[in-house]
């Protein structure tokens, strides 16, 4: 008997305290996302020269464990005009977010600060390949992330602007 009564005491105590659960879809009652939270990867936008940070160097693509990304590189027109230090720039970039395992390896290996794990995590789609995102969408995700978190580049030496 004693054991059951002890257990009952625990449940009774629980009835008196505040609930620990959160009301998930309600926007104002959700749990807060931590600063380091890894959502899906997104490409960042360099405001100083108005171009993506990404040069399409393919390092992240080779290192991705699920091979879910692809990219194409082109000569940077802004470099020819002397506005940017990036000789090459990304032309096409695609990530199949449905295949991405959110491991963060692409962010680790990028030498140009071009990719970051955004806080985006609600990507339910109706179409089977609805989560294949291309360059503009990735940059949109990135811009939103930059706005929300006030992201600052960490590898300043690789940044594109030409110092005058």
């Amino acid at each position: 008997m004693i054991g059951s009564i002890k257990g009952l005491g625990v449940t009774l105590k629980t009835a008196l305290r505040k609930p620990v659960t959160a009301q998930y879809p309600a926007p104002d009652k959700r749990l807060e996302i931590d600063e380091r939270y890894m959502g899906f990867p997104a490409l960042l936008w360099d405001d100083t020269v108005a171009e993506p940070y990404c040069t399409g160097c393919m390092v992240c693509i080779r290192e991705c464990p699920t091979q879910c990304m692809s990219a194409k590189m082109k000569d940077n027109p802004l470099h020819a005009d002397g506005k940017s230090r990036r000789r090459k720039i990304v032309e096409e970039f695609e990530i199949n977010l449905g295949r991405c395992i959110v491991c963060g390896i692409c962010v680790d290996v990028c030498n140009f600060d071009a990719i970051e794990m955004s806080h985006e995590h609600e990507l339910g789609k109706y179409a089977r390949n609805g989560n294949r995102v291309d360059l503009p969408e990735l940059l949109d995700m990135g811009k939103q992330f930059q706005q929300e978190t006030g992201w600052k580049p960490t590898q300043a030496k690789n940044i594109g602007r030409v110092e005058k």
Partner: protein, 375 residues
């Protein structure tokens, strides 16, 4: 549960009732099939069928470089991800002869012990559920959730962390880690006591678990059982103590052992282990000093040619990782000695002569994770 008649097999002579449990059965904690031959209510013979969750992880490792393999080890034991990562990283470090910075070692210990608590909390919850008690699962998950919230702040992910690296850890701890840890250990300490009071002495729980699924120490060792399931049979074997890896020899903690090797002992050894883990965390937190978190290693690892075997104590038991390296950036062969897989072999022994109603309880008490069993 489906009941079928089957022609008598050689082993189960004159028994014609075969009960098939799974592969889709809620209490198998995954996809696992158990075929039981019964005589009345008694189990005569039981046959576990594994492999329904086979993803070929070991083979996949051969096609990924060492940094990428860590993501696969996250997904073996998906309840104790950090312990899995640690197993692989330790093996590669042993092969390369790396010296790990003190701070990284401490961070690893803290996070792995937290993961052990989270894993045992999950066991606590679902074990209550296996027996038919709904309440424990809510308490267990509440505590586990707190640990995972901290993991999210530290590693960026709740379950698939990819945080422990060969040579250290990925990132330093966040600034408010100390503060959060104080609250967390406080809450966990209270939570463990609450969980203990809720279920451990409950008469109905005792009735269902005491003396059920007994396995003696000699049999347990013969079957290769390890971890809490072995310690419940009274064998004080813990890799953290008998063959310390990392900096485990610097901590003072007890190894709880059971007396009877029954389901209740296997349950209570885990409850007690959570308390010991808190003790380790407490010591490690006090020794935590600023410093480097990564040894000097190249990004693309190329360990020297050779073979290595490293053991760690995962929440489920003795996790061994065997790597053959041919000197390139990808392992030539990776073999995982999964504790759940070995523990599962003892199920046949435990189930013999038990009541069929206890099958689920006995299966639950060895706490398998199918991701690790089938790999």
């Amino acid at each position: 549960m489906i009941t079928t008649t089957q022609t008598p097999t050689q082993q189960a002579d004159a028994i014609d009732l075969m009960v098939n449990m799974g592969p889709q059965h809620p209490s198998t904690h995954g996809v696992f099939r158990l075929v039981i031959w019964v005589d009345g209510e008694r189990i005569v013979k039981a046959e576990p069928h594994v492999g329904y969750l086979h993803r070929g992880s070991e083979k996949l490792c051969e096609g990924e470089n060492y940094g990428q393999v860590i993501t696969l080890f996250d997904r073996l034991d998906y309840v104790a991800n950090l312990n899995g990562e640690l197993g692989f990283c330790l093996a590669v470090e042993k092969l390369m002869g790396l010296e790990i910075p003190e701070r990284a070692e401490r961070i690893r210990v803290i996070l792995c012990e937290l993961n052990r608590i989270a894993s045992h909390m999950l066991f606590y919850g679902v074990y209550g559920l296996d027996i038919g008690a709904m309440t424990p699962v809510l308490y267990g998950f509440r505590e586990r959730e707190r640990v995972q919230a901290l993991f999210e702040a530290v590693t960026g992910a709740r379950m698939m962390h990819n945080y422990i690296r060969v040579g250290g850890v990925k990132e330093d701890l966040p600034d408010d880690f100390g503060k959060r840890m104080t609250t967390l250990t406080d809450q966990l300490g209270r939570g463990i006591e609450e969980c203990d009071a809720l279920l451990s002495d409950n008469e109905m729980f005792l009735e269902r678990t005491k003396g059920v699924g007994v396995i003696g120490p000699a049999d347990a060792i013969d079957y290769g059982v390890s971890g809490p399931s072995l310690r419940a049979s009274g064998v004080a074997e813990d890799v953290r103590v008998s063959e310390p890896y990392g900096i485990y020899d610097m901590f003072d903690f007890g190894v709880p052992i059971g007396a009877n090797g029954d389901c209740w002992d296997r349950y209570y050894v885990r409850v007690e282990e959570m308390r010991q883990s808190l003790k380790i965390i407490d010591q490690a937190m006090r020794q935590l000093e600023p410093g480097p978190i990564m040894a000097k290693v190249r990004r693309l690892l190329r360990p020297p040619k050779g073979e290595v075997y490293a053991r760690t104590e995962s929440p489920r038991g003795d996790l061994g990782v065997f790597i053959v390296s041919d000197g390139t950036d990808k392992p030539y062969r990776v073999k995982v000695r999964a504790p759940s897989f070995a523990n599962l072999q003892a199920l046949q022994h435990m189930l013999r002569d038990a009541y069929i109603a206890d099958a689920v309880i006995i299966l639950g008490s060895i706490d398998i994770v199918l991701g690790e069993v089938d790999r």
